[in-house]
């Protein structure tokens, strides 16, 4: 009898456990994915609310109005077409063509879903149509326009597809996020929709690219962490041959760097050295290092929807592992993630969560949300971060990233030129990730250029754009 009672108790406990699982899973899902589910463009509730509520304004960090609903109920954007186009991927286009722009992702604020009970009651009796919250972003409108203009200013990158992200490495606040080609939200013509360049695609957050040599930052971090004599490694890039039977590893443009170590290899972006380092570090530890930087993580940032970055998880052949060492193989990351990576090094090894909302203010004036920074994860110990900072400083001072140097700022960074194929045709990408180490200008930058012309590298395409951005930041600090 006693045993039977124990069994009944056990069964009840089992059911309780199942219900606890329901409660925990349900609560967790709603708290982490709630806004993503709610702001999904097909949510019929949003469509219904749009007919009753005047959408709130969207401001940039200086208070410039980026989007506003006029008295006729039409959505008006910034008067300058260049600013409108540069910001279109951040804001969204109001037609739902761009996924997860502020106009859709912040629906719950802009359309007043967060209104409190007193506000609702007051709205009911005032007889006026209700207005949504004003959303102030961390982006700067003139900076965004300057970033887009920088692409056009250089012959290597004019008219090319690409993306650039500028974020404060200390707080994670996004100062600019530009994807090219862009378009004017006031004029979505059929021509834009038919454009093969896919202008609706946010290349900074939704597109994943092989990071190429910028990934050497991760490989170098792994070497510094795992190999006791990492800084004493030497290979002769000119004479040593890395032959994997079907593939031979060569350097960009077939160049040779002579005898190189970890630092000089990083500065000169020597593929052979980092292939060697990757083989020494081993597949497991290199993957662990990549995952420390956020690869293979499910990005659930509060203000931004970002594609997850990929580092290969299956078994790797020696050639594949060697290629991972310099960011080829199946590694893929978004420009935003690469910007976070540079920002993490700048911030002494703490990656900050990228934030886009500066503040949210109710139509009546009450504050609903104000900016708070939060660490995303710690990727490096301060000691290793300091070594990488010195390397990145060297890249701009004397290595492949000289064209990113700017007077008056301590620019640090890493260039990259990655190869891949699109529809069978070879396509190469130019990268620059870096930051200004100055305390009064704490910005990290990632620039990606798609489809480089022959003979153009990341150092000669993306780095000059980064220089323009740093110059703007220097002049407006």
């Amino acid at each position: 009898m006693k045993q039977k009672r124990l069994r009944y108790k056990l069964l009840a406990l089992l059911l309780f456990l199942l219900f606890a699982l329901l409660a925990v899973y349900g609560t967790r899902s709603v708290l982490t994915y709630g806004n993503r589910w709610f702001s999904f463009s097909r949510n019929p509730r949003v469509r219904a609310q749009k007919e009753q509520v005047i959408a709130g304004d969207i401001l940039d960090r200086d208070g410039t109005v980026l989007a506003h609903t006029d008295s006729a109920g039409a959505r008006q954007y910034h008067p300058d077409a260049a600013v409108r186009s540069a910001l279109v991927h951040v804001l969204g286009d109001g037609h739902g063509q761009i996924a997860n722009g502020v106009e859709t992702f912040q629906t719950s604020y802009l359309y007043g879903f967060q209104a409190s009970l007193p506000e609702l009651v007051f709205g009911l009796f005032s007889g006026q149509p209700r207005t949504g919250d004003t959303v102030q972003l961390t982006v700067s409108a003139p900076l965004s326009a300057a970033v887009a203009a920088a692409f056009e200013a250089h012959p290597q990158t004019a008219g090319k597809r690409g993306a650039a992200v500028v974020m404060n490495w200390r707080t994670g606040a996004i100062a600019a996020l530009v994807s090219l080609p862009s378009f004017d939200p006031c004029d979505i013509s059929d021509a834009v929709q038919a454009d093969a360049g896919k202008p609706f695609w946010n290349r900074a957050t939704q597109a994943k690219y092989p990071p190429g040599s910028t990934f050497k930052t991760v490989t170098a971090a792994a070497a510094l962490r795992c190999l006791p004599q990492a800084e004493e490694i030497r290979i002769d890039c000119t004479t040593d041959v890395l032959d994997f039977g079907s593939h031979v590893i060569s350097d960009y443009g077939g160049s040779a760097h002579g005898r190189v170590g970890l630092r000089s290899g990083y500065l000169l972006s020597c593929n052979k050295l980092f292939a060697n380092v990757a083989l020494n570090v081993g597949a497991e530890r290199l993957r662990a290092e990549a995952e420390r930087f956020g690869f293979n993580d499910n990005f659930l940032f509060r203000d931004l929807v970002v594609e997850n970055s990929v580092y290969p998880t299956g078994a790797l052949s020696d050639y594949e592992l060697a290629a991972c060492g310099f960011g080829q193989s199946a590694i893929a990351a978004t420009p935003l993630h690469m910007c976070m990576l540079a920002a993490g090094v700048a911030n002494g090894g703490v990656m900050m969560e990228p934030r886009l909302l500066q503040s949210v203010t109710a139509a009546g004036g009450g504050s609903r949300l104000s900016f708070s920074s939060a660490p995303y994860r710690t990727c490096l110990e301060p000691g290793i971060a300091a070594v990488l900072q010195e390397y990145m400083r060297g890249v701009v001072a004397e290595g492949t990233g000289k064209r990113a140097a700017v007077d008056g700022l301590t620019v640090c960074g890493k260039t990259g030129t990655a190869d891949s194929t699109e529809n069978g045709a070879a396509l190469s990408y130019g990268w620059f990730i870096g930051y200004a180490a100055d305390e009064d200008c704490p910005y990290a930058v990632a620039v990606l250029v798609e489809g480089l012309d022959a003979g153009v590298s990341g150092g000669s395409s993306a780095a000059p754009i980064a220089a323009d951005v740093f110059r703007w930041l220097r002049d407006h600090r």
Binding site: Q3, K4, Y8, L11, L18, L21, G26, T27, F38, P44
Partner: protein, 418 residues
């Protein structure tokens, strides 16, 4: 003495709770009635609290029973009527009628459990009748939502598996307590086979889980439990390999957003509804829960979450947890093996069913179309859930009788001995 005091106090608390629940529903229906200005709304505002009062206060006068279990049951039934009135009034009227009938059926079940102490005579008719009932939809049924599990007879339609559920638990409890393993095993396997033929996998899962756990309750064999579980896992894997619709269900569960316009539409709409409700809900009468396909049966929990919020949804879960706790306590206090198994079987069925449907709606497990006990729209489902509670109540009333008998004897002994 102290025990009596505690009882009196808990009865007082129960009474207050009952009045609070009645007030809640009165106000809620009044609000909706004022919105619609329809006499049906006002009628429900009077009728539902009245039914709650009758359900919680009148029944204990007929038989001794568990008041808390009654209150919880009535709360859930009334919640169903309320949500249906908000989303589709026509459903609410018939649900309210079924609620009333359900109360009567519950009394009948209590009476049956009290009266019939020997179920031996009923085993053959029950098992064979059940199998015939399960086979009927295969012959005369129509396919709805991919499963052929409804019987249509002269304008009346019902889901036979809902009623077979009762006879399953009754006969399992009886046969297990009499250690007739072969017969109950054969009956269960036959039921599962017929449900598979109906493609009603959710119900099959419930039957299987209940039978397995009841067997553990009866003999405590971990070996048999493990064997059953691995057998079930094997069958599930085989089902996944063999049936395209199982594969589709699993694919939808893993990523409903991949095809949100078609395959994943229902689940995505449900998730959006839950997310729209947030913590505190959009409020009764607001929101647009009716955009979820089959919002009134499978997805009623998403509707509740949208209107009343996640916190209220968690409270509904807590109500079910309390219900399970009462069921298990009553089973533990039962004096005979049969009655203990009957009470724990009914509790397991209700608990598992709630878990399976809510887990499906919040995307914890693949969605299988079973109803949420007491709340979902549907006469078959509501009546069978009321019967399950009736069985538990019957066992509770027998326990109470035994306890009174004990006290009487103890007092007699005390008096007899100076």
């Amino acid at each position: 003495m102290r025990r009596d005091e505690r009882r009196a106090r808990s009865r007082e608390a129960g009474r207050r709770l009952c009045w609070a629940v009645m007030l809640f529903y009165f106000l809620a229906f009044l609000l909706l009635a004022l919105r619609d200005m329809a006499w049906q709304g006002f009628a429900l505002a009077a009728a539902v609290p009245a039914m709650i009062w009758l359900g919680t206060n009148l029944l204990p006068r007929l038989y001794p029973g568990d008041r808390l279990l009654l209150s919880l049951t009535n709360f859930l039934c009334a919640l169903g009527v309320l949500v249906h009135y908000d989303t589709n009034p026509a459903y609410a009227y018939s649900q309210a009628v079924n609620y009333g009938i359900g109360l009567g059926v519950m009394v009948f079940c209590v009476w049956a459990v009290r009266l019939i102490r020997d179920w031996d005579w009923a085993m053959w008719p029950l098992t064979l009748g059940s199998l015939a009932l399960l086979a009927l939809p295969l012959l005369f049924g129509r396919e709805t939502y991919g499963a052929k599990n409804w019987i249509y007879l002269g304008g009346v339609s019902f889901q036979s598996s809902e009623f077979v559920k009762l006879s399953l638990i009754l006969s399992l409890a009886w046969l297990m307590s009499r250690r007739r393993a072969l017969r109950w095993l054969a009956f269960t396997v036959a039921c599962l086979g017929l449900l598979m033929l109906q493609k009603d996998l959710g119900t099959a899962l419930l039957y299987f889980g209940t039978a397995l756990l009841m067997n553990f309750a009866a003999n405590g064999s971990l070996l048999q439990l493990g064997l059953g579980l691995s057998g079930g896992a094997g069958a599930a894997l085989m089902g996944y390999r063999m049936f395209a619709h199982v594969k589709r269900r699993v694919a939808i569960w893993r990523n409903p957003w991949a095809d949100y316009e078609n395959a994943g539409y229902q689940l995505v709409q449900g998730l959006m509804a839950i997310a729209s409700g947030g913590l505190f809900g959009v409020g009764i009468g607001l929101g647009s829960p009716t955009t979820i396909p089959v919002y009134h049966t499978d997805f009623i929990f998403a509707v509740i979450c949208e209107q009343f919020g996640l916190i209220f949804g968690l409270c509904v879960l807590a109500v079910f947890v309390a219900l399970i706790w009462r069921g298990a306590t009553i089973a533990m206090a039962a004096r005979s093996a049969f009655h203990g198994l009957l009470a724990i079987g009914c509790t397991l069925m209700l608990g598992l069913q709630t878990f399976v449907i809510i887990g499906g709606v919040i995307k914890l497990i693949p969605l299988t179309g079973v109803t949420m006990p007491f709340v979902s729209y549907g006469g078959s489902s509501l009546l069978s859930s009321m019967c399950l509670v009736g069985f538990i109540q019957g066992v509770a009333s027998l326990n109470e009788d035994d306890l009174r008998e004990d006290t009487r004897i103890a007092m007699a002994v005390e008096v007899g001995e100076p």
